[in-house]
Symmetry: C3
Subunit: 468 residues, 3 copies
């Protein structure tokens, strides 16, 4: 008995299935490029064992605990920490049992595919997880986690990861990355420059962050020029720690292209904490254009993740803080929003700006037409809720006809759940091969082309888009 | 010859088709739960025969007559009453012939599936309806309607309906429901509390309705407290007549969570007929939160149907009034709109709020992420234009990966066309089984799970979401 | 070896494929009706040979050159003219080679289907186009273009075109159409009245255009009445040159239904060049209603193409002007926007207004519900980026269930790439037959109905909607 079907996600019709399988067989062994994600670099610096099954699979994974919460399980019952430091469930086995007895909630979701993939292919489990098998699962995984082969570096290697990018804030000292490098370990774990805390006037502690930013770089971040210089300094520092990209998580995709005088005046308002919400949005927008200009100079790829309403539930945010499964997508405009930046740098052939949306309606209407025209633009893979079989299918069907394959940027797993990395790449590879097989079977692509495209989508496009 | 294909709506590939058929066979005989709809309770109170085929299938069904209107057939030619009481076609056979000769207009629509299902499975007809068969159809149906087995209660029973909810306004005396109960008939026909006429400041006669609301309940509806008390009184009265839910048809999904002082001040503006459109919308929004609070106390499920532009054509509304096929969906925001209510009551595990949208773009972007996080939220089935094979397919594909099956609320037929009830449930059961078979065939669900989910989608989820 | 699969775009499952092929066989030989497009009437007036492969396939086709631009190839390297008259690549063979070596960029796009169809079925080529075959292709096509059988009129006839509509501005003298008619050639090439340059206050040279409009018609276009009379005069002139329709390309779908006094006052602002952007939009909207009223009188079909952000890139527009692949779709509202016009003329059974959108989210939410109610409305086929297999599939799946087939208007190729006409109609016929076969295979349509609908979608609906 197996938890996963070897032909999962392939088309059902036999001719298509055979072709999809052949395509998949040609790419399944390729190394994993993970150019955007949220793994903790400390794992690979310390190489300490993962503490227990609940801390590996449940407590840190908002994909998992949100689903249980949606059915009435309190976050505290799942061990999710409280901002006031109050009591939460502390027994990992109890948490694991709650997870196991609710595992049916994940039916039909990518989480179920990813988790079953990890259970079977990482931990060698073959019985379905249920209330009845909860303890056996727990003991088995617990036993494995004690083995050296299940420490972070060993898993990194057995997963076949060629490069893994983590994401650190502009004020991070990157000590874990330094420690990793100094340890002599050969695994390629690189950082990404994510300056939201010093770019977003609405970020907690923004004023203090600016001061710290100045202290860290020796620049006068009370002036616009000094502030930009501080970014240049930090970008160079992040590049030394492997960064090939910056990343920007903004509520909207707004960009601006103000004169330097106007930008300086806006910065002056912002740095005094006097920005209106509209001015805050304009400042974030101006900074995307500034970052794009810096990218022209230093070669970092620019990633824009726009359109998430963070921490939608006020009571959950008050009790538990950020990233607790209550980030909700919003309708997002890209056409008007990107125009200022694109008028400034959109025709630059050596610039790479990768766009990520949570508004699927923009795939065909806005993003593919933009990426199918502007040399600087590439489309990132389906993000977050849409990193799934159906999500990938809709993405390909809505974008390929307008911008082709070569204006897309390969796959991102974007995860903080380490064990899900091979599972997520596997789903993406299978989904893309299913799509390609369908194109061949309906006379829209030659079979020889499909093999080439499968390789490109799995490996080459990510490598090139991120300069890996 | 048959009008309906026994394998209709199943996948075509033989392995999937066999599995879909098995899944369907396991649920096709389950009782019908119809927790939201617009049947006339008088049918079951009086149990009088339906007058003729035109009044059964054409004149009251806006799904049907709108299609003929769209091709230039005047509403008056179809017997649809005029607001000025003027002449309309009064010969049911003439109306029936017009319907029959235009029946090809329904090709590819769910109406065609529903009508053919009724013709074949309720009335035993097997030849297609055309101009040539119009009279034979008319005579056959007319003959059947004269039989006792075709009276409302007999049909109710032969349809296998376990519970049917009608929808009545807050000022309704529920006399038909009382009559039904007093008659000793065992059929379970329950009411639903739909207070739009006393909640929506833009409803015709709102000021008078408030006065009537006070008179009916003995509360002082000139005060905010009295007005809320009147709702509590009526909700209790509706509960006595079986209600397990309230229902709210609003142009937007806006909610508010004002202080009671601010709410009372707003009510004061509203009750004097002085509300601006924005204040009217705010008041409706505040009342959704108030209704949710009352639901916490009395256990009624709260249904929100948002986003229809009612009576879009001014001349049609002037000549024929409401519900004449000219209600058009609007773009609808849920993320910002629901936040005030969700901050107030969204984390309550014992509250059930069911959301219905006419904006399919919100399925994956807004509704599934919300329902996949907040315990109080469930997603209603595809509504109105989207209650169809493709509509159900899109709904499942767009929501399941994010919120699973267990944050949805089973099926609603939401119809005023009585004979379409078994047909609509049949389409939903088949469509869901087709989807489940596809999940199994592509390795996303185990076969044993699919049978369990099929049962849940057909029966258990509706029963639980509506407390039936 | 062939470039195109004879079963392309048909479903893969064998029973569906056989039926789709039978349906396609029944319509593939029907004449082409091309009621909306942008071919140059001079081709058929002069009947001169096409100059070379690059000028036939690359330089004028924004579908083609935008894709190369998106990957960093400068427009000047592709021979696209500069507005300053500066140098661009002038060697057609060099341009052709650049196209050929980038042909893989079109994988999975309709351009690849169209181009391969033209290469194989118009020019008899069977090897894939690559850098290696570029010169052989060039020489072969160049040789063919020198033959009389490849002159415009001969191709028109061999393509089986029954009627082809071009599109001319209100100030056009229609001399090519006159020349064609006077030449005695029997091919039916008709014009279409496209008055944007005298209707849109934001059009380049609008004030001068109004003066020319007056001079051309002998009407006093400084007055509202004279301006309307000028339109009537030109519409009659266009009708004499075959026009059966007008066409309106507006940024939004806004309509207005002002009193004639208010319209005259707005016109007075507009003609003095004093309109705000909102007034300009209102004026365009009023003119849609005026045009609809004129259509009631003269019988021209009214086409509305709304929602394109023209010339999105400021630098590309400055360097190369209009229509350079940088037109990007925008979110478009139809429900509120069309209400004024529909209240005025929407219930007219003898009026035909055809709607075209670039916002697919409006198919099911807005357009199908509107077209399924208002007699005056028909839905145009998927437009521009959505004229593709997946685009047609989404259109049918999203609209048919609500408005059926008979509120749609058949196919448009809307192209300026002459050789793509048979290819585009072929894709549409195949895509529709694939959809119909799926309906039959899933019990939603009888086989005999499918054959009738296939014919309607291919021929009858376009003929009737455009009065051809």
């Amino acid at each position: 008995m197996a938890l996963t079907d070897p032909d999962r996600l392939f088309p059902v019709e036999s001719r298509l299935r055979d072709l999809a399988r052949s395509l998949y067989d040609s790419v399944k062994g390729l190394p994993i490029l993970s150019p955007h994600g949220h793994c903790d670099p400390r794992w690979f610096a310390d190489n300490a064992r993962f503490p227990n099954p609940a801390e590996l699979f449940v407590i840190p994974d908002h994909y998992v605990f949100r689903m249980l919460v949606s059915q009435g399980v309190p976050l505290t019952d799942l061990g999710v920490p409280r901002t006031d430091g109050g009591t939460t469930e502390s027994d990992p086995r109890t948490i694991w049992r709650r997870f196991a007895e609710n595992f049916h909630l994940f039916r039909g979701t990518p989480s179920s595919l990813w988790l079953n993939h990890s259970f079977e292919h990482v931990f060698g489990l073959t019985e379905p997880l249920t209330a009845a098998t909860a303890d056996a699962y727990y003991d088995h995984i617990e036993g494995k986690l004690a083995e050296d082969a299940f420490r972070p570096r060993a898993l990194f290697e057995s997963f076949g990861i060629e490069a893994l990018a983590t994401t650190e804030g502009a004020l991070d000292d990157l000590k874990w990355h330094r420690m990793m490098r100094e340890s002599g370990w050969q695994g390629r774990v690189i950082t990404t420059y994510r300056p939201d805390s010093v770019v977003d006037p609405e970020f907690e502690g923004f004023i203090q962050n600016l001061a710290d930013f100045g202290a860290l770089t020796g620049e006068d971040t009370a002036t616009w020029e000094g502030y930009l210089a501080a970014h240049r300094t930090r970008r160079a520092f992040f590049k030394e720690h492997g960064a090939t990209a910056s990343d920007h998580g903004h509520p909207t995709a707004r960009t601006e292209n103000l004169s330097q005088a106007d930008a300086a005046a806006l910065f002056d308002i912002v740095r005094r904490g006097e920005a209106t919400p509209d001015q805050a949005d304009a400042f974030r927008g101006q900074m995307l254009t500034e970052m794009a200009r810096m990218s022209l100079a230093d070669g970092l790829t620019l990633q824009i993740h726009a359109g998430s309403w963070r921490n939608h539930s006020a009571p959950v945010f008050a009790r538990h803080g950020r990233d607790k499964g209550f980030d909700i997508p919003m309708r997002t405009d890209w056409v008007a929003a990107l125009k200022p930046m694109l008028d400034a740098v959109g025709m630059e052939p050596d610039l790479t700006i990768i766009l990520f949306t949570l508004d699927e309606t923009t795939y065909g209407r806005e993003l593919a037409p933009l990426a199918g025209a502007y040399p600087a633009l590439k489309l990132g893979p389906p993000w977050w809720f849409f990193d799934s079989y159906e999500g990938i299918k809709r993405f390909r069907e809505a974008t390929t006809e307008t911008c082709g394959f070569y204006n897309t940027a390969g796959f991102n797993d974007d995860t903080r759940a380490f064990c899900s990395i091979p599972a997520r790449h596997d789903v993406a590879r299978r989904s893309d091969c299913a799509y390609l097989a369908t194109l061949v079977g309906t006379g829209r692509l030659r079979e020889s082309e499909a093999f080439e495209v499968a390789h490109d989508l799995t490996y080459r496009l990510a490598k090139e888009a991120y300069g890996l």
